[in-house]
């Protein structure tokens, strides 16, 4: 017993000493780490000595999955524009992932200057922790959505199952691929579009709409967690007869995998998908990047920004750009989240929160 006691006291002393020593170095290390990363900037600065006026600046744009190619090009365009305008070098870093996951990372401390996510609800989630103002969606024109998209069907060549509209999806033997609305922003637009269609064709009878989406999800063999996962399942694994996808993703798939293999079907009714953008106030104020961050998002509305959006298959809102890319987008009746679903908060609560209409589909015995 004495032995044990002595051991434990020795253990305690050593453990304590180590704790002290390490917490000491720990914070030192942490500090070193942060200065280490910020030192990256001055080094790049030396490479381009012509700008004495302003120090180079970095922005972090936290975005969702399908915008990778869009922002790849837009970032270069904006950097050139900003350089010409102010003489300052700007580097934009990108982070992509599922929209909800990305919002959560920002909430947990990922220092995003701007967020460009799949739906307003995910940006609304940043309001609670005080990262941005609840009126964020009024900051930029057009609901802070510089480009829009919608939901279409991607089918295999020749449309062998003859899928033309939403009600064809629940025909016998049709397999539908969509990501999980719980984890994917795009899938929530899919779900709401299907819901809206069912309401319209059943005199706004909610029970009927519920039955329709339930039947629809019985035709879904694989629920990937993100839009890109679903596209891969449909395109690479050759699973399913129809993929419910963002219009821009569907058009991109045609481009990436060849027009010969797939066709796009535009249903009679779909939804106006508005992927919004916002400044993360808390971060830009801390880093003093507000000016360039605002310019970055504002430039999305410029002619060049709109042209790049159209080029990457997003529907531009600027009339000139919309006219230019008119041929790639079909006209379709579009439901609106604010008008037809009373905004994201209501839609989320009703359909996607735990116990919502989507969960009811997957309740055993129902």
């Amino acid at each position: 017993m004495k032995q044990t006691l002595m051991f434990s006291s020795r253990i305690l002393t050593v453990a304590l000493a180590l704790t002290l020593a390490l917490t000491g170095c720990g914070s030192g290390n942490g500090g070193g780490g942060t200065t280490g990363t910020s030192e990256g900037t001055p080094q790049q600065e030396k490479a381009t000595p012509q700008n004495e006026a302003k120090k180079p600046v970095k922005l972090l744009n936290v975005s969702y999955d399908p915008t990778r190619e869009l922002y790849d090009e837009y970032n270069k365009a904006f950097a050139a524009h900003w350089k010409a305008e102010t003489g300052q070098d700007v580097t934009i870093e990108q982070s992509h992932g599922g929209s909800g996951k990305q919002a959560r990372s920002v909430i947990d401390g990922l220092k995003a200057d701007v967020v460009t996510l799949a739906l307003g609800y995910d940006i609304d989630a940043l309001v609670g922790p005080g990262l941005l103002d609840s009126e964020w969606q009024k900051q930029f024109e057009h609901n802070s959505s510089p480009y829009t998209s919608t939901i279409v069907f991607l089918v295999r060549k020749g449309n062998p199952k003859n899928i033309l509209d939403w009600n064809d999806l629940i025909k016998d033997g049709v397999e539908v691929i969509t990501p999980n609305p719980k984890t994917s922003g795009g899938a929530r637009w899919n779900y709401l579009a299907a819901w809206g269609y069912a309401l319209k064709h059943n005199n706004n009878d909610e029970e009927k709409a519920k039955e329709f989406v339930k039947e629809l999800f019985k035709h879904v063999p694989v629920l990937d967690s993100g839009a890109r996962g679903s596209t891969t399942t449909f395109v690479e694994r050759k699973l399913g007869d129809v993929l419910l996808a963002w219009e821009n993703e569907a058009l991109l798939s045609l481009k990436e995998f060849g027009e010969g293999e797939f066709e796009i079907v535009t249903p009679s009714i779909s939804i106006l998908a508005e992927p919004p953008v916002a400044i993360v106030d808390k971060v830009v104020d801390g880093r003093e990047t507000r000016e360039v961050a605002e310019a970055y998002l504002q430039y999305l509305y410029s002619e060049e920004g709109q042209d790049i959006a159209g080029k990457h298959f997003y529907r531009p809102i600027l009339p000139a750009a919309a006219e230019k890319y008119k041929s790639q987008f079909k006209e379709v009746e579009l439901l609106q989240i604010d008008k037809d679903f009373q905004g994201w908060k209501a839609a989320q609560e009703k359909h996607f929160n735990d116990g919502g209409t989507f969960d009811q589909i997957y309740t055993p015995g129902s």
């Binding site: 032995q3 704790t19 063999p221």
Partner: protein, 281 residues
């Protein structure tokens, strides 16, 4: 424990207990205990009712069942084939044996996501093997069978690497004696060799099983993630997190944590117990 082993000295002449033990405990606390306690603290913010409802929700229960069954099946498959692989590697000589031996470690090294993507590509209906099985009506990818295959991949090294050394040390004498007494090969195996192998097999099984319960990266690609059918518990944690439901996520995490701890404790006690029996015998 101290009293039970007469050989062990109450007082060791060896130095370094204080410092090694101190460092061990300090490091363990810093890396494992303190971070894990965050899960407990977080869930303590829930009421009992909330906690209970979260962890017994039908979909959550279904996900435990799927994780449990597939991990169990995979561990079982690994016990049978892991033993065979270990046997072949220890007892026979054949060309390329060293290479094969190294291959066994690769599932440790390959990022789980890559394993998932590669396995999906092979076992999907249009993959090399998937397309062969398709006409037979067997679906692998996007079914519990697919999850099992991913978990077999993940758990294989655990079984092989625990059985191998024991098999190597197995004394020939008892086997010889059994043969001299006229026992058949199979009988020798079952009566003489197998009993010796049961502790490492159990350990290997339990490690593969525990690892399989928690596996995420490889499974999400091959499972299809269908609620109630192929949705695993770690995915539900992820799903809850993405809906900003930290409480719900940590509640499920807590359940899995406790299961993992209890399983490991059982293995270690079993092992200690069988070791003691060996000394006593």
């Amino acid at each position: 424990m101290k009293g039970s082993k007469p050989k062990a000295k109450a007082k060791s002449v060896l130095p370094g207990f204080g410092i090694s033990m101190g460092f061990t405990i300090f490091y363990l606390c810093l890396i494992v205990i303190i971070p894990l306690s965050a899960v407990f603290i977080k869930t303590s913010g829930m009421t009992m009712v909330q906690f209970w409802e979260t962890i017994t929700n039908p979909r959550v229960l279904a996900s435990y069942r799927i994780s449990f069954l597939t991990a169990f099946a995979a561990a079982l498959i690994n016990v049978v084939f892991g033993l065979l692989v270990a046997w072949v590697l220890v007892r026979y000589n054949f060309p390329g044996k060293k290479l094969i031996d190294s291959l066994v470690d690769l599932p440790f090294a390959l990022p789980t996501a890559v394993a998932g993507i590669a396995l999906t590509a092979i076992y999907a209906p249009n993959g090399w093997i998937g397309s062969l099985l398709q006409p037979l009506g067997i679906k692998v990818a996007f079914t519990p069978l697919g999850i099992t295959i991913a978990l077999v991949f993940i758990g294989l090294p655990f079984v092989v690497r625990t059985v191998q050394p024991v098999l190597q040390d197995l004394e020939k004498d008892t086997e010889e004696a059994a043969v001299m007494l006229g026992a058949y090969r199979l009988r020798t195996f079952i009566k003489v060799i197998l009993p010796e192998l049961i502790p490492p097999l159990l350990t290997g099984f339990a490690m593969a099983f525990a690892r399989g319960l928690g596996e995420f990266g490889s499974v999400v690609f091959i499972s299809g993630n269908m609620p109630l059918k192929t949705e695993i518990a770690p995915l539900l944690i992820m799903t809850k997190l993405e809906q900003f439901d930290y409480m719900g996520a940590t509640a499920i995490a807590l359940v899995m944590l406790v299961i993992a701890f209890v399983m490991l404790l059982i293995i270690n006690v079993l092992q200690w117990w069988s070791g003691r029996r060996a000394i006593a015998g």
